[in-house]
Symmetry: C2
Subunit: 204 residues, 2 copies
Amino acid sequence: MPRSEEANIHIKDDRQKQILSSALKVFIHKGFAAAKISDIATEAGMSYGLMYHYFQSKEEIYAELVRDAVDSSKCVIEQVRADDMEPIDKMRTLVARIFKSVGQDQSIGYYFVLMMEAMTSGMYPAQAIEHRHGSERPFDMLVYVIKQGQHKGQIAQGDPVQLVQTFFSAILGLASLKVSGTIETMPDPEILMRIFQPASLTTT
Amino acid sequence: MPRSEEANIHIKDDRQKQILSSALKVFIHKGFAAAKISDIATEAGMSYGLMYHYFQSKEEIYAELVRDAVDSSKCVIEQVRADDMEPIDKMRTLVARIFKSVGQDQSIGYYFVLMMEAMTSGMYPAQAIEHRHGSERPFDMLVYVIKQGQHKGQIAQGDPVQLVQTFFSAILGLASLKVSGTIETMPDPEILMRIFQPASLTTT
DNA sequence: GTCTATAAATCGATAGAC
DNA sequence: GTCTATCGATTTATAGAC
């Protein structure tokens, strides 16, 4: 026997990860429609014919990545939510973690850009992206933290949903512009954090 | 003579506007790569062959729209800058105007989404989009307003460029998510305005 | 498991009739 | 000025050799 069955499985698993990793990089830079299978193959250092040995189509690769992106986001949010700290500091930690990762390969930042592309390209309805097997949406997880912060007076009053929308949009926008090279470095996270700031006392 | 020369010019001008209007709608919903010429033709209610009577290529239509978008943005910013009001209120007016227009056809909101797509798709380098015949970039125009606001104590201290980056990203992100249907309504503009808010006095 | 050659489909762009 | 028919290039996806 030239190769053990076990080794083959290992290769298979390895290749799949390699393809997904390369595909993520290509997709966030060119978008789904403009990304060619050959681009992904080149990035992964293999022939494009081999791609179809591991995935049925370009869409399947994309769908798999979007799933990973949602799971990864939920994971990060779940971590900060479970942390023992004030609600406002949970948000601060989340922003810091995301900002720091943007620009690093295979990070949560890349996943955020992919989700942005998935949502705006109109390929996936928003529900399909966020709603998975009845589990809580990343979005709602944040709304809950915001409400806690508002109750404690750490976060400005007003519709928590709108607050999260603005927060998310800014992060997605910044991550996308960073990856595209439109902006060179991420701004100070504290700027964004100010959207949570309760109204200042009137200056007397 | 069945038709006057003048009437032909009128038709030509009319058709071009019609095509650009339809193309804008298609491009912001599907992106450049996924948008088909036939999509635009259908939206405009004409055959796709006729498109090439008015434009040389899909790229030319897109490029024309991006130019319009930049010009339109500059126009809006120029208006608020010229207005006789406090710097912070200039920003407030700008946000209000943009937020209100998002979701309306052929508005500045559509143009913002197009610029976002143009920047993130990597088709155009950021310079090509913002830099035009030596005139001031929309971005720099805002930095100037911010500096004035900081000098007057109306706007938080810190790098004005980062402030504008965060501001722009949030607007672009919100506009994109609104057009894609990810969010149903635009949030309260005052949430975003808080990123300008100077540090509140310590609650005593 | 991996590659190359090829089929099949899509789409941008053109030509020519009306 | 407008439409339909067609070309040509690109790309997804498959088949078969090694």
